[in-house]
């Protein structure tokens, strides 16, 4: 842990303590610190930027409502990301049951719409900084399309591993499942992701070609 990490952890504890005492304004510090990573996590889980914003907004609301149960001294991030992952799962389930993920962004029967959303974001990125961000935007579009090929449980495990950087144990804790289950999901998810990338977006990763050679 760096000095900066320690400082942030202290600030989190202060903000959480004040939230536990009913100070709504203190939630602002936690929102400022965790909103971006939360939105990115939700975006990777759903593929919908607007829905990701909604999920994170709800997650902060849920976090505040449950903040009295939060044990001071524990890191806030894993607890919060668990709420985000759960909320994303609920929202996707709810959207599927209503057959109405979105009126303006996400069409459940048309995965291309997701790509279009990503491409719109990509276009936005290119506009703001074309030289540096076009590649990032293309990677985003391709990664989302590849993630779309994964069952949601595998997708959760893969995103927590490769985006948040969690260990198997941390993923198990976040998803409230057994370590072996996580390892199975990660194994299958990584293989599917690798296959999807190799088939459709081989330019994304150089290691894939090496790996496919060494596997064969």
């Amino acid at each position: 842990m760096t000095i900066s990490d320690a400082q942030e952890a202290r600030e989190d504890v202060d903000a959480i303590r004040r939230c536990q005492q009913g100070d709504i304004a203190s939630l602002g510090a936690l929102v400022a610190r965790y909103q971006t990573q939360g939105v990115r996590l939700a975006y990777l889980l759903t593929g919908d930027h607007t829905l990701a914003d909604d999920i994170v907004q709800d997650s902060f609301l849920l976090a505040y409502r449950g903040i009295r149960r939060f044990r001071l001294g524990e890191p806030f991030g894993p607890w919060f990301y668990r709420i985000v992952a759960n909320r994303a799962r609920q929202q996707l389930r709810h959207a599927r049951s209503l057959r109405e993920i979105s009126l303006d962004a996400l069409s459940p029967e048309d995965a291309d719409t997701r790509q279009f959303g990503a491409q719109a974001d990509a276009a936005s990125a290119r506009r703001s900084d074309p030289a540096q961000r076009a590649e990032s935007a293309e990677a985003q579009t391709a990664l989302l399309a590849a993630l779309d090929t994964l069952p949601h449980k595998q997708r959760e495990a893969v995103v927590l591993r490769y985006y948040i950087g969690y260990t198997d144990q941390q993923i198990a804790s976040t998803l409230d499942c057994r370590l072996g289950t996580v390892q199975q999901r990660l194994h299958a998810g990584r293989a599917s992701l690798q296959q999807a990338i190799r088939r459709r977006y081989p330019w994304l990763m150089s290691a894939l070609s090496t790996l496919s050679t060494s596997e064969s």
Binding site: L98, D121, R190, L208
Partner: protein, 333 residues
């Protein structure tokens, strides 16, 4: 922990890098802190997926209103301090002659053309929206700051108009142009949101009807609902007293593909932002291109502003289409 093939480590590294690269420009699109705190302050609970878009728009507008009120109060305080300090700034004659505060009492919004019925889908169209701001007589004039949306609130453009002393109205025109898509997603409802000197919302403006899909002569089209538009009456409950009995009528207009064989449209309607719904159906004749269905909410306007809520329909058959969710603007007082 068992070690894996070195290439798997490399693959892991690349995946970490790919995930970081693919998300490094994804940021919250809204001010989440303000939205969350607003929702907490209103004691709102987490709702279903369908409600969130509307809620977040409502929360954003609420924040807008609160900010605008603060700006208004601060502006008034600053104005008072200036006048009290040295009596300069605005001409003395104007200050002496005006006793009415500069406010916007209402905003009308008109769109031209008022209908796109009969126009071919795919054809070009342009729309001119005219906002008319109404101001009480005998004010000192000032600037009206507002935002307008052409896409049902998903984004907005800020602008301002200046009102001369004594003027009782001001107009502002904005335009939109594009091809009419076959999925009827354009044009979308437009609205003007005044933020200063006070907060006022215009009604939504949307050309009626929908474009007609082009098909080969003599061809029989499918039985298909191409879009659903919603209207609500009254459009606003601002100014009504809380506790007053009210009936809100929601009207869904189903737009059907041309030359269709007719049939039964089955759908659910909701009067509470999608949390609950009631199954319903309407039958259309062969060749009919629109059909309407109305449903109502009745009750006393609650002081906690929980009703009336946005209404809409979810079409299940012959195909899945959702309407937008629409409710009266404003709140009882």
């Amino acid at each position: 922990m068992s070690r894996q093939h070195p290439d798997f480590d490399k693959l892991d590294d690349e995946l970490h890098s790919l995930f970081a690269r693919a998300t490094d420009h994804i940021d919250p699109q809204r001010d989440l802190a303000a939205s969350v705190q607003q929702r907490l302050a209103q004691g709102e609970s987490v709702r279903s997926a369908g409600a969130h878009r509307s809620l977040s728009i409502a929360a954003t507008l609420s924040v807008f209103i609160v900010v605008a009120l603060l700006v208004g109060v601060l502006a008034e305080l600053r104005g008072g301090q200036r006048g009290g300090a040295n009596g300069t700034g605005a001409p003395a004659t104007t200050a002496a002659a005006t006793t009415v505060p500069f406010t916007v009492t209402s905003v009308d919004l008109a769109v031209n053309p008022t209908s796109i019925s009969g126009k071919a889908c795919g054809s070009a169209a342009s729309f001119t929206y005219t906002a008319t701001f109404h101001i009480p007589a005998q004010t000192a004039g000032g600037s009206i700051h507002f935002g307008y949306t052409l896409n049902n609130g998903r984004s907005q453009t800020p602008d301002a108009v200046t009102v001369a002393p004594g003027a009782t109205s001001a107009t502002y025109t904005f335009t939109s142009a594009g091809a009419l898509p076959a999925d009827h997603t354009y044009p979308a409802p437009a609205q003007v949101m005044v933020t200063s000197p006070n907060s006022v919302l215009s009604p939504s403006a949307l050309p009626s009807g929908s474009c007609v899909a082009q098909s080969a002569p003599g061809a029989t089209g499918p039985f298909q609902v191409t879009s659903v538009t919603m209207a609500v009456n009254p459009t606003s409950i601002a100014g009504k007293s809380c506790g007053t009995a009210l009936t809100v009528t929601y009207t869904a207009t189903f737009h059907l593909a041309a030359n269709g064989p007719g049939g039964t449209i089955r759908f659910d309607d909701t009067i509470n932002n999608g949390r609950g719904s009631t199954p319903a159906s309407v039958t259309v004749a062969p060749g009919q291109t629109t059909a309407s269905y109305s449903f109502q909410w009745s009750g006393n306007l609650p002081a906690d502003h929980t009703y009336p809520e946005a209404g809409g329909v979810i079409v299940h058959s012959p195909n899945a289409v959702n309407s937008s969710l629409l409710g009266p603007s404003g709140a009882c007082s």
